[in-house]
């Protein structure tokens, strides 16, 4: 679960990391009030869960109430990378002597946490990593997951242009950030930029925190609601019924068991048609779950066909087929439905599908099923 910047900043602050004065606003009037309390100039930041906000125009400065009114109105009625801006973070504008970067993530290949730091923070950090790798330092935490400050000092010592004061205060911030990691079990925990003030102090001007979904139930510190924050109503409904639904802009509905099979299906559909969604059931198919999956994908207007691609390993797919058939019969579905369902009890599954007019493909290759789908929807 990705937290909004304002939520992550609150968590960083509670863990001792210096952060700017700030407030959250959902309307222009609220923004005006927060800015009045902080004092001008202020920064207005769109609270959307997507990277690269700055370059996409989601971060603006306001030096006066008049300017704030204009900027806040514009931001609150805009989209950033397709996401509506529902909230603004109104922030004290700090004086910047230098911008640093620090982040902690999981290195999937070594299976260890890795701490990354750079003297070149800001929006172009990934570019810096490519062009000037000497400006990036990284250190792995060992499998005990214990972190000691000397590790940060050693790592930062490899970067040029760091004085003793910065080394000490930066090491402190890394220790505090590691505390956040221990408490919240994030997959990513990042400050970019970590600003050096003219007096040499540090302040976290941005905050990224993505908590491991599988660990949420055991995190002992308060976290915001996981379902409520999903802005797309179809994706929210997917989360509610326990499947992964991603809304896409096409007209072919998809239900698949397994993320890999779902991705392969969208890849192959995408060659000739356009997928309306990605849907992955995870393990544990039941008749009720597939009924709800049908209900969910059919909520998307203008569907031309549905493709069901499931394997019965842990999943009782014959049960799933019953759910699909019940939906078709109750809702008198007219668009073509193609199903490829293989594995345990496949023959029984095919019979159930066929009883409701579903086109069953019995070959293993998804490509063959999508050929069939293509014939059925025509080329228009």
């Amino acid at each position: 679960m990705r937290l909004h910047e304002y939520e992550a900043l609150d968590i960083f602050e509670r863990n001792g990391i210096p952060v700017p004065r700030r407030g959250v606003a959902s309307t222009m009037h609220e923004a005006l009030r927060v800015a009045g309390e902080i004092g001008y100039p202020v920064i207005l930041k769109a609270q959307v869960l997507v990277g690269g906000r700055g370059l996409a125009g989601g971060i603006k400065t306001a030096s006066s109430p008049d300017e704030l009114k204009e900027v806040a109105e514009a931001l609150l009625s805009s989209d950033v990378k397709g996401l509506p801006v529902l909230k603004l973070l109104v922030c004290e504008k700090v004086e910047v002597a230098k911008e640093l970067y620090v982040g902690i993530t999981i290195d999937g290949y070594s299976g260890k946490p890795v701490i990354v730091a750079s003297t070149e923070g800001g929006m172009l950090i990934e570019e810096t990593a490519r062009t000037s790798p000497e400006k990036i330092a990284a250190i792995h935490v060992d499998s005990s997951l214990e972190f000691y400050p000397y590790q940060a000092r050693t790592m930062l010592g490899r970067l040029s242009g760091i004085n003793q004061q910065l080394l000490t205060s930066w090491t402190d911030v890394i220790g505090q950030l590691y505390n956040v990691v221990m408490r919240y079990e994030p997959l990513i925990c990042e400050i970019n930029p970590l600003v050096v003030l003219p007096n040499g102090g540090l302040i976290a001007v941005d905050a990224v925190l993505e908590v491991d979904d599988s660990a949420i139930s055991r995190v002992r510190f308060p976290l915001p609601d996981r379902v409520e924050r999903i802005e797309n109503p179809l994706e929210r409904r997917g989360r509610e019924i326990g499947v992964t639904y991603v809304d896409l802009d096409g007209d072919i509905g998809l239900i698949s068991s397994g993320a890999g099979l779902g991705m392969a299906s969208t890849d192959i559909i995408g060659e000739r048609m356009k997928p309306a969604n990605f849907l992955e059931t995870g393990g544990g198919i039941t008749a009720d779950l597939l009924y709800k999956c049908m209900e969910l994908i059919m909520m998307k207007p203008g569907l031309r066909a549905v493709f069901i691609n499931v394997y019965g390993g842990i999943n009782p797919i014959h049960e799933g087929a019953k759910g699909v058939v019940r939906y078709i019969q109750e809702h008198n579905v007219k668009i073509p439905i193609v199903a490829k369902a293989l594995g345990n009890r496949q023959e029984e599954t095919w019979e159930i599908f066929r009883s409701a007019g579903v086109h069953v493909v019995t070959e293993a290759a998804t490509e063959k099923a999508i050929d069939r789908l293509y014939e059925l929807v025509g080329r228009g």
């Binding site: 990277g51 990934e126 491991d212 394997y311 293989l342 998804t366």
Partner: protein, 290 residues
């Protein structure tokens, strides 16, 4: 021949008294796997599918001579059961469950490495040696005995590839699901190494997907060490971007993680890139694998 499992593999099922554990124990036995017992703390002394259930792994090992274990344990209890299994001396472990916290997986991984244990998962369908046995949930009907090895990050795509090969009379030596989580207990490279050494395997198929750097690292290994032909499919070309928020991963890994980046690294290592699973049939014919 095969990798990981052979005639002396004696399997216990952890979580055998649960609904899924029981059903899967049945399918594994039916496939011919030497399943010798099960473990569920508190249910010792009972039987499931005619198999003895023990309270601890140590007891199960002592009574049955088990040397491998497959997990159908609820995610919250997997870490504990895993440590117990390693301490009881088991050397091959398959973790089927999903939704295990990454922190637990990191601890499991390092403990397995320290103890020379080969563990797969989490979120893996397991291992299947066609016609011989299986540890996990792979549906038997998709597979046929032969000489092609399959390693897949995705469970269901491993069935898809095996199914297409089987339809074209190309059998498999061993099919391995490595697990789909951000951290897995064994990397792709380790499994490739086993296939390279296996006398029963003539060629290998790698089924990867967008994200992480397993395929990029494997490309380095293939270039340096592999003599057998390798084909690869990477899922996720049309997957929506923008799922990733922070930069730390990208900074450490550079350009890796994209489908194009993975394909390029693998192609550079001499691997045949398959644009769609169905193309695996032509590749197998070309390499005379049927």
């Amino acid at each position: 021949m095969s990798i990981l499992m052979n005639d002396s593999t004696r399997v216990i099922v952890q979580g055998i008294t649960g609904r899924i554990g029981k059903a899967q124990a049945h399918w594994m036995l039916e496939y011919g796997t030497k399943v010798v017992g099960g473990v569920t703390p508190g249910k010792g002394g009972t039987t499931v599918e005619g198999l003895p259930v023990f309270n601890s792994v140590q007891e199960a090992v002592k009574e049955t001579g088990a040397n491998a274990s497959v997990f159908f344990v609820p995610a919250a209890f997997v870490l504990d059961a895993f440590m117990e299994t390693i301490d009881a001396g088991i050397k091959l472990i398959v973790i089927v469950p999903e939704h295990i916290p990454v922190r637990d997986v990191m601890k499991m991984r390092s403990y397995a490495m320290e103890n020379g244990v080969f563990a797969l998962g989490p979120t893996t369908p397991g291992i299947l040696v066609p016609g011989k046995g299986k540890m996990g949930i792979m549906p038997a009907s998709m597979f046929a005995p032969g000489r092609v090895g399959i390693i897949s990050r995705s469970g269901t795509l491993s069935y898809e590839f095996a199914g297409i090969l089987s339809e074209n009379n190309v059998g498999q030596s061993t099919v391995v699901g490595m697990g789909a989580d951000p951290v897995v207990l064994r990397n792709l490279t380790d499994i490739l190494e086993l296939f390279e050494e296996d006398e029963g395997t003539d060629a290998v198929i790698v089924v990867g997907e967008v994200g992480g750097e397993q395929e990029e690292k494997a490309a380095g290994f293939i270039k340096r060490r592999m003599t057998k032909p390798v084909a690869a499919y990477i899922a996720g070309r049309y997957s929506p971007q923008g799922k990733r928020m922070g930069h730390a991963g990208a900074i450490v890994r550079g350009a890796s993680g994209t489908v194009a980046g993975k394909q390029e690294a693998l192609r550079d290592a001499g691997v045949t890139i398959l644009d769609s699973p169905i193309h695996v049939a032509d590749w197998a014919v070309k390499h005379k694998l049927s």
